[in-house]
Subunit: 469 residues, 2 copies
């Protein structure tokens, strides 16, 4: 009877779904046929199927039959899966050398994670990338809704791609996407336990400089101290004055507020997503943006196009200009099979949903408990951190891992790529042999594969192959 119910549920899932999917053989900007298998499509989710989530699926270039399946969540919230694909870990990248502001060229990324895994990139939550809804109230979202929607998306996607049901599955993501990925992993675990169909071969999750919650911000001060941005004195003042609580500090505690003000003065012009790179906002023609200080992914396309002129100093945000030109091009949208009239203008990271209309609420304040549950249930985790990121510093990640009170299985040591130290790693396990691998990526910022693509591919390859880093 139970399994009949499940079959019925599967059937209902499928008939309710107004999915579309297309195999993309060529893309504007890339010469010749694509040397990998790309599929795009929409899958409808929500109580009334009112939300159309767009995705990009790329089969592993090695052996899609046996290689793992990754379900990738780009950060933000509000950053498109296309950004993950073209700027982080996908098989194509922009030819930045030749880019002059006109239509950009695409080249092969030799360090694509699709060399070793099949990856679904999703435009989520609703309002991100090419995802859309015809109902305006569908745009009201939050962590819980977003994670639920992504889980439902994946169930429907797997029902339409049943051959991937036998592949090892990992939920993955970085920055805010790491938070959602962790929540989705727990949804899957619970769904499997409840016997929901299809049953997924979830192995674990992979997160990079991932948001845990508000507590991340607390570690920015010890991090700034370690990285020589604030003095021993200021750090001691803050520690004793604020009793270690910097985010929700008491506004009437003047000793604490004074220390925090000294620290703010020291760090306010630091590029917190990579402390050694220039802070682009202050090279911008519109430095007094009303959102100043709120955005961490500061790519305003208008500013960027001005910024990318050759006579301006280099700024990482220049790298983000081609994706705006490309994704807003009509022939590109046709090639990707974007439904006409669904999106007025594509943005890499839709900050409007988060900051302007406040359409997205961070309703889950911390996912510490999610990590704990996943670990208790026996799932594996890889938590990596670009060590030059102050936005979500590696100290935040270490903090929640250590709070789990696990046993150290492989002590802190360097990991190597090409004979060089690529970072440091430590491996933890619970009574149940569920492992958490922590790894720093030396010299990398917030989105580690953007800075250290070769090292990150080696890391993920070893970890997915169950080798030590």
């Amino acid at each position: 009877m139970k399994s009949c119910m499940h079959l019925l549920l599967c059937f209902l899932l499928l008939i309710k779904t107004t999915t579309s999917q297309s195999i993309i053989k060529t893309l504007p900007g890339y010469p010749g046929p694509l040397p990998f298998k790309l599929e795009t499509g929409y899958i409808s989710v929500g109580a009334e199927d009112e939300i159309e989530l767009f995705y990009y699926f790329i089969e592993s270039e090695r052996d899609p039959e046996t290689d793992p399946l990754l379900f990738w969540h780009t950060g933000g919230p509000g950053c498109s899966g296309l950004s993950g694909l073209l700027i982080e870990i996908g098989p194509l990248a922009f030819d930045l050398e030749s880019f002059d502001g006109s239509f950009p060229s695409l080249v092969i990324n030799p360090y694509s994670w699709t060399k070793i895994a099949s990856i679904i990139f999703i435009d989520s939550p609703i309002g991100t990338g090419f995802s859309y809804s015809n109902k305006s109230n569908a745009y009201l979202s939050c962590d819980t809704k977003s994670a639920n929607a992504n889980y439902l998306f994946l169930r429907k996607w797997l029902l339409k791609h049943p051959k991937f049901l036998k592949n090892r599955l990992y939920v993955a993501g970085d920055s805010y996407g790491g938070k959602i990925a962790t929540m989705v992993a727990l949804e899957i675990a619970k769904g499997n336990e409840a016997g929901l169909q299809p049953r997924m071969l979830l192995q674990g999750y992979i997160i990079g400089n991932s948001r845990t919650g508000n507590e991340d911000s607390n570690e920015r001060i010890p991090y700034a101290h370690r990285m020589a941005l604030i003095s021993d004195e200021y750090f001691e003042l803050a520690k004793s004055g604020c009793h270690g609580e910097y985010v929700n500090s008491d506004p009437n505690n003047y000793k604490c507020q004074y220390a925090l003000e000294l620290i703010r003065e020291c760090t306010k012009l630091i590029n917190d997503i990579h402390i050694l790179e220039p802070r682009c906002r202050y090279m911008s023609p519109r430095p007094n943006d009303i959102l100043s200080g709120q955005l961490f992914l500061e790519d305003d396309p208008l500013d960027l196009l001005v910024l990318s002129r050759k006579d301006k100093p280099w700024c990482r945000n220049h790298n983000y200009v081609p994706i705006y030109v490309w994704a807003n091009n009509e022939t590109v949208q046709e090639a990707l099979h974007i439904k006409k009239g669904t999106i007025t203008s594509w943005t890499r990271c839709n900050m409007t949903i988060v900051y302007m209309n406040m359409a997205y609420k961070e309703d889950v304040k911390s996912i510490f408990r999610h990590h704990q549950l996943l670990n208790e249930k026996g799932y594996q985790a890889l938590a990596y951190s670009g060590d030059h990121d102050m936005y979500v510093p590696y100290l935040s990640t270490l903090k929640w891992i250590r709070a789990l009170n696990l046993t150290v299985d492989d002590k802190w040591r360097p990991w190597y790529v090409g004979g060089q130290v690529a970072g440091y790693t430590e491996k933890y396990k619970n009574y149940n042999q569920a492992f958490i691998t922590f790894a720093t990526v030396k010299g990398a910022g917030h989105i580690a594969p953007e800075y250290k693509p070769k090292e990150c591919l080696a890391m993920i390859d070893r970890w997915l192959s169950l080798f030590p880093l």
Copy 2:
């Protein structure tokens, strides 16, 4: 009677001196006449004038009459002044883009410190660069001899260039050169007090990632901890096991030795002169060099010429290949007025004198007392540190400054270049208004101007102009 004695001494200094000096109008590799005034020459020092110290003098490109005079000491010990001139802070640099292993081209360094100061670069101690002696036992040297020799050199140089006697004088240098510069500054101060002639207008000294003594190495462990190279656990283990003494640790203290061994494993393949750059030795065709682990300036010219092939990964040491080709070229040596037959082969850093023949002894174990005396005597100091150097970490510099127990005059704050944070600074003063300015250079390695030339010129310009950084 006293002043007669001084005049006599001056006279003796001059007649004993077998100096040579030449104005250089053109240099091989640079098209057309040099757009600055370059003089090279030898000045003989030592009890019997047996040591010929070679120098390069460049007049300030702004106003040599009023701009300060810098007496620059390159590190090592054993690194040539030519390296300071062509790779660090001088008006010419190699065109690395066009270098293909044949004769290199020279280009203008827009961030030369000679834009704002006249600089003497010295090949010191004996055995360095083009300095030489006809007596083999003259090559036996040490800190004290080297500092004495450099002071004598400067007295003789100023007597031959009396118009610079009215310029503000600063002794300067980085790495080991910072140690010698500090010692020379104290020699000058004492010489002035003793009425030695010529009286020098010493204002203070400028040192970068400067060696203080053995205590520098002790700070590498806290630094490695801060920079995420070792874990909190290892650091705590070392602190409690070794009681904070890591350099001269007790070999029978197994708890300490165990912690140090864990730390050594974590950091042994880190490039300690810039922790984010590749460790070149391990890309070398001769990785098992007998000197492995001893050299910090790892440029073996034979290895480098192999390394500089385009198909090899980038390595900063590639930048050091052109100077070997250039300085060993016969027409270059003629242009520089090098005496024929005095040098068999020019090396950027003569490690032989330090490590192979042990010709150079570090007889002054710490210059903390020198700093203290200079501060008490009222001289100004700028102590800057590339903050990504583990060889002499900024923590070493902060340690001796703080041990002086001075008053903080300008609290820790960022300093800016082009609207970006270029580093952090703190200014200390004594009862006598003698200032010590500490500054980090954000993202720079051991030789800060090599990594951050624009920022370092701005720093030195402001400091020499008595402006806040």
